[in-house]
Structure formats: C-alpha cells, structure tokens
C-alpha cells in the first residue's frame, strides 16, 4: 500500500538517511565537503532499491585526531524541515598493524519546522577502522546510536523506544583529493517492524530495516 511506503520514507528520513560522517578524522586544518546518497531499501516495482536520500556535509580537521563537522539534510529540506547535524569525530585509539583504530562521534541532530515542531536527537557513533594498502583505503565497522529524549508521545503515551542502534560496515576508497564511500547499515534491528505502518525490506524479517549508502568526499 502506498501509504506504507511513504511512511517508511519519513521514518528513514530523519534517523537513517546518512552514512557515517567521518570515521577517520581529517588531517589538521584539512577541509572536506561530502555528499551522500542512499537510504533504506524499499520495493520499487519488481526491484529493490535504496531510497535516494541526500545529505551534504562539511568537516574541518581541528587537529589530526579531532574533526568537527556540520551536515545538512537536503531531502528533509524538501519537506520544509531544517535538519542539520553538528558533531565531532575523535580518534581515541591508533591502528597497530591489524588491530583497528577506534573513533567516537557524538552528534547533535537538530530538526526544526516551527516553534511547535522541533526536535533534538543526540547520536553517538563508535567506529573501528583499518587502513590498508598503498592508497590507505579504509574498511570500517561501527555502531550508530540514536537517543529519544522524550519520554512520552502524543496523548501522553509512554515512548517505548528510547534507543535506536544501527550496526554498519563500510569501505572508503581513498584518493589524494577524493574519497568514495560505500556503506551498509542495519537500522534498528532490535525493534519489531510489525504492527507499525511500515513495510521494511530487511534480511531480518520482522526486525528493523536495511540501508545502502554511497558518498563522495572532496578534500582541500
């Protein structure tokens, strides 16, 4: 039913529309602009495709282990919502041969429509990443966490889901000035997608959703 597909669309619009921002921090004083495209998989006719959500992202290397960034959700803007992420990636462990490095990324995800419709979702992503090869390509696995601060929904109903987590795996193809990124993410595998107005396409049957994302980054 069309309404179900569209509801999935909005579901994913806000909390699953983007890949990891910066897994590895930029070099000190390095700038990077990124555009990502992709989203959870839906059935489209006979094909299964990712919903093409678009986000734009800018980052700056405050030092070699700490990158600040801001992201703008372009698709959300089409719906009249100003949605942006303000965050920072801090590398807390260095890579030792095949023992991956570790970074953490706290994010404030801000959505504003009007004075009655505004939300702040704190996020925390933790990623382990491994650089390899001459080009220092990066493979990473991580987990993104969203936190619902509101304890109640409309009609004073208790908000059941206060934590949504999303395991992910990705690969970044590194070039001198450009990076190309592909990522797969499992969205909320702990939550049932039954008895919701959604039709998720997921390998986990009645749990969560599954997303695929592509990104391109220009460093300067």
């Amino acid at each position: 039913m069309r309404f179900r597909i569209i509801t999935l669309f909005l579901t994913c619009l806000l909390f699953s529309c983007a890949p990891a921002r910066f897994v590895k921090p930029l070099q000190k004083k390095e700038h990077a602009a990124n555009v990502s495209l992709g989203g959870p998989l839906i059935k489209f006719g006979t094909a299964t495709i990712p919903i093409p959500f678009i986000t734009a992202n800018y980052g700056y290397g405050i030092d070699s282990t700490f990158t600040g960034f801001a992201s703008f959700n372009v698709t959300s803007a089409f719906y009249g919502n100003f949605q942006m992420e303000l965050g920072a990636t801090k590398q807390i462990l260095k890579q030792h041969k095949y023992i991956p490095a570790l970074s953490v990324t706290p994010i404030a995800n801000i959505i504003y429509k009007n004075k009655d419709a505004k939300k702040l979702y704190p996020q925390l992503a933790v990623n382990a990443f491994l650089e390899y090869g001459k080009r220092k390509n990066i493979v990473y696995v991580g987990i993104d966490n969203w936190f619902e601060l509101a304890s109640k929904r409309q009609y004073e109903i208790k908000q059941q889901n206060r934590w949504i987590f999303m395991p992910m795996i990705g690969h970044s193809f590194t070039q001198k000035k450009w990076n190309f990124n592909i990522e797969a993410k499992v969205i909320a595998p702990n939550l049932s997608n039954e008895k919701l107005v959604v039709d998720y396409v997921t390998p986990f049957n009645t749990k969560g959703a599954f997303g695929v994302y592509l990104g391109i980054t220009r460093k300067f």
Partner: protein, 296 residues
C-alpha cells in the same frame, strides 16, 4: 561551498512537500459495478446478503467544502427504500482510504443486512477523487462530502435519532468529526472500526520516535482529541493483529479518550486491519452492531 549553500537555502526556503495526499489511496472508476466488481475486495458475501436492485440507488450529490467557490460532484449509493428514509434507521458508512465504493460494496451490504434482511438503510459515498467522484481528496473535502450525504438524508426525512454514523479506518475522521460538531445532522450513535488516532500518531508509529507530525503533514485529523467532544453512545471494534493502525496506539486511544454517555469495546483477536468482519464471523459482527444500534 557557496553554491552548495545557495542550493541548500533555496531548497529549504522553497520546500513545500508534505505527506498529506498520501493519506488518500484512492482509485478512479469509469463506472460502478457493485456485485459485478472483479477487483480486489476484502471479502465476498454469499447470496443470502444480496440486495434487490430496487433497493440500490446510485446518484450524485453536490459537495462544497469551506472556502470553495463551486461544488464538487460526488457519487453516492443509498441501500434501501428512499421513501422509507423518513421512518427507517440509516447507517452513514464512511469508507476507508483505499479505492472506492466498489471495494466497500460488500461491507455496505453487510451493514444493510444487520440483524435481519435489509433491516437498515445504508448511505455510502465516494469522497472527492474516489471512484467516479470528481476532484481531488482533501481533509476538508472528507468532511464536506459526508456532510453532503447527511444533508441529502435530511431532505429525505431522516431525523437525528435514526442516524447511525459508521467510520472505518480513514472514514473514522469524518465520522468522528461530524458526530462531535454541528453539521447538517447530529448522529444518534457512533461506530468506529479500526480508527486512527491522528496523523501524528501515524508518523510516530512509523518512525518509532516521538517526533512532531508537523514535520511531514499539515493534516489536522485528530480523532483522539475530537472523540472527547462526542457525547453520543460509542461502539469501537478493532483487530488486535492490525498491522496498519495499531490497536493500542490508535484505536485504544480513541476509545479511552471518549467521555460520553456509553461506550463498548470489541478487541478482535486475530483480526487485521481489514478483516474484522470475517474474523468475527459475519453473523457475530452484524449481531454486535445491531445490538448496539438497537440498544435503547
């Protein structure tokens, strides 16, 4: 970066998309087939529920929503003897968001045969944009179209105390609103099958998060709030296995918020969104409705 900023600003400032129209899952028709309809339906009744052709009336009505300069022509079906409307009890059936009256014809026939053969008159319309009705569906149009039907019934002699309002799924919005407010007629009783609480609840259910509905919709439908203004006796039936409108986040909210004189709840184990009558069994379903309608 400047270009990116300008592009983003333009998108933000010019954005106007909403999910409003996606509430309406309407289909157009060239003609109504009723029993001859071969498209998908929720169930098909046996011959014992047949309605004589003489009691099936298909006609058009003018419907004018607030602020509209001209009327929209919508299609209506009345099951029963029009002459008897002045003395009959009539169920105003507000159908769901899907398709058209051909899809809901079996349900309308079932209601007409509540308690006994052709016991009640049943009025059903296709909202604007549905079936053969002109125009595009809107929230204001839902209310205006149902009110046009009520107005027609009133002109045929129906009085408030013999009018039963029935809303299924999306139809719960006009059914609740027109029961709560002063329109052409004031129903004596309200029946809601698988009602939804609000557009915001749909969004919160869909997202799993407590996000404002305003992010995606300008629809003001809020049955959970509007039901507080309904004083008439209220009958609620909902499938416990409803995976479209969750029984607890939607139907139970409407039921619990009702503050009128009498209410009864029917939580149907194993029933989905569209399978309450079948799961209950047609006799049990109509018998429960009939008991409520005939309850003093």
């Amino acid at each position: 970066m400047k270009k990116l900023f300008y592009l983003s600003s333009i998108l933000f400032l010019s954005s106007c998309l909403t999910l409003d129209e996606n509430l309406f899952n309407n289909s157009k028709l060239e003609s109504y087939k009723l029993d001859g309809y071969t498209g998908e339906v929720d169930f098909i009744l046996g011959s014992s529920y047949s309605i004589p052709d003489s009691l099936v009336h298909l006609f058009t009505l003018p419907s004018k929503a607030a602020g509209e300069s001209s009327a929209t022509t919508i299609y209506a079906i009345y099951i029963g003897d029009i002459v008897q409307i002045a003395t009959d009890t009539v169920i105003m059936y507000c159908h769901g968001n899907k398709d058209h009256m051909d899809f809901y014809w079996q349900r309308a026939k079932l209601l007409a045969n509540t308690k006994s053969k052709n016991r009640f008159g049943v009025m059903m319309i296709d909202y604007r944009g549905y079936g053969m009705s002109e125009g595009k569906p809107t929230e204001a149009g839902l209310y205006a179209d149902v009110d046009a039907a009520l107005n027609w019934l009133k002109t045929k002699g129906l009085s408030n105390e013999r009018l039963i309002m029935y809303g299924f799924s999306m139809g719960s919005a006009p059914a609740t609103k027109l029961s709560a407010e002063n329109w052409s007629m004031k129903p004596e009783k309200l029946i809601l099958e698988a009602p939804f609480a609000s557009a915001e609840t749909m969004i919160q259910d869909g997202s799993g998060l407590a996000m404002p509905g305003d992010f995606f919709t300008t629809l003001e439908i809020n049955n959970g709030e509007k039901i507080k203004s309904v004083s008439q006796p209220f009958f609620w039936v909902h499938g416990e296995a409803d995976d479209f409108l969750n029984i607890d986040s939607h139907g139970a909210v409407v039921y619990n918020n009702y503050q009128g004189s009498y209410k009864e709840a029917h939580r149907i184990a194993g029933a989905g969104h569209s399978s309450v009558p079948q799961t209950m069994g047609f006799w049990n379903y109509t018998n429960a409705l009939g008991d409520f309608i005939l309850r003093p």
